[in-house]
């Protein structure tokens, strides 16, 4: 069955009434910005390390004051450290 030429012409005229779409000029910049790993500032990194150290010291002190054995305290710290390392490697 031959195709009517009119539908072809109608589609061209109707669809080309709108200009072909283009990406906005800032597109590439937006993508590359989102891809760049977010680095903490030196001050923020120091504060985070201090917080982690303080948390460990307080946790050990609380567990020891409650009569928890040193071996259990060591295991709980080791498990936390392993989980932290895994999460960190996944985020990289």
């Amino acid at each position: 069955m031959p195709e009517p030429i009119e539908i072809e012409a109608l589609l061209r005229e109707s669809m080309q009434a709108a200009a072909p779409p283009k990406l906005t000029p800032t597109f590439t910049q937006r993508v590359t910005t989102r891809l760049r790993p977010r680095q903490l500032s030196a001050g923020a990194q120091r504060a985070l390390r201090f917080y982690a150290l303080a948390a460990v010291v307080v946790s050990v002190a609380v567990m020891w004051s409650q009569g928890v054995e040193w071996s259990l305290i060591a295991v709980s710290l080791a498990v936390t450290a392993v989980i932290g390392a895994i999460v960190r490697s996944r985020l990289k």
């Binding site: 195709e3 539908i7 589609l11």
Partner: protein
């Protein structure tokens, strides 16, 4: 020009410039494919999809084994991501506001012709939006964006003859839809 496979290998190893080169090479085609699926009224959404596709591909580069060409893989990710978005969010073609068109017609001597044309274009857009997604994509790529059959075949990852049959079938369906809406001369 550096081969895709070299750029992919470098980008997977963390070379930002290599990924930027891939982004530069493919961004427009990925965007056009996304727009062709979503439609003329959703250019902004297509740009969002394009951005998400490149972020997703960047994270998945290490797992890309090179069993297919990088472009083929990229277009497949784009197609699936856009179809998923379309399924999640209902994309309706905007209706033509007849009152607004009539006001415009009263203020402009040539407006009657333009009014008729605008109505016809709106009906065509509505009919196109009712076609299967793959037909919509092929039609918009060919008639709106002026892509060749070969380029559409690459973007949709099908043989050229399949693209021709998509276009043929889409035109047939459109013709009967337009007739049902009273556009007998279509």
């Amino acid at each position: 020009m550096e081969a895709d496979s070299d750029l992919v290998a470098r980008a997977a190893a963390g070379d930002e410039q290599a990924f930027a080169a891939l982004l530069e090479r493919y961004r427009d085609r990925v965007f056009r494919l996304a727009v062709s699926i979503l439609g003329q009224a959703f250019v902004g959404e297509a740009e969002e999809v394009t951005q998400e596709v490149f972020l997703r591909v960047h994270h998945a580069l290490k797992s890309f084994r090179g069993e297919s060409k990088f472009g083929t893989w990229l277009y497949r990710v784009t197609f699936n991501q856009t179809i998923n978005l379309k399924a999640r969010v209902r994309f309706n073609a905007p209706h033509v506001n007849d009152d607004a068109l009539a006001r415009q017609a009263a203020a402009d001597p040539d407006a009657l012709t333009r009014l008729e044309r605008a109505r016809r274009d709106a009906v065509v857009a509505e009919c196109v939006a009712e076609l299967p997604a793959i037909y919509q994509s092929a039609l918009r790529l060919h008639y709106w964006m002026g892509e060749s059959i070969a380029e559409i075949a690459t973007l949709l990852d099908v043989p050229e003859n399949t693209v021709k049959s998509y276009l043929f079938r889409a035109r047939q369906l459109l013709q009967s839809m337009l007739k049902n809406r009273g556009y007998d001369n279509a």
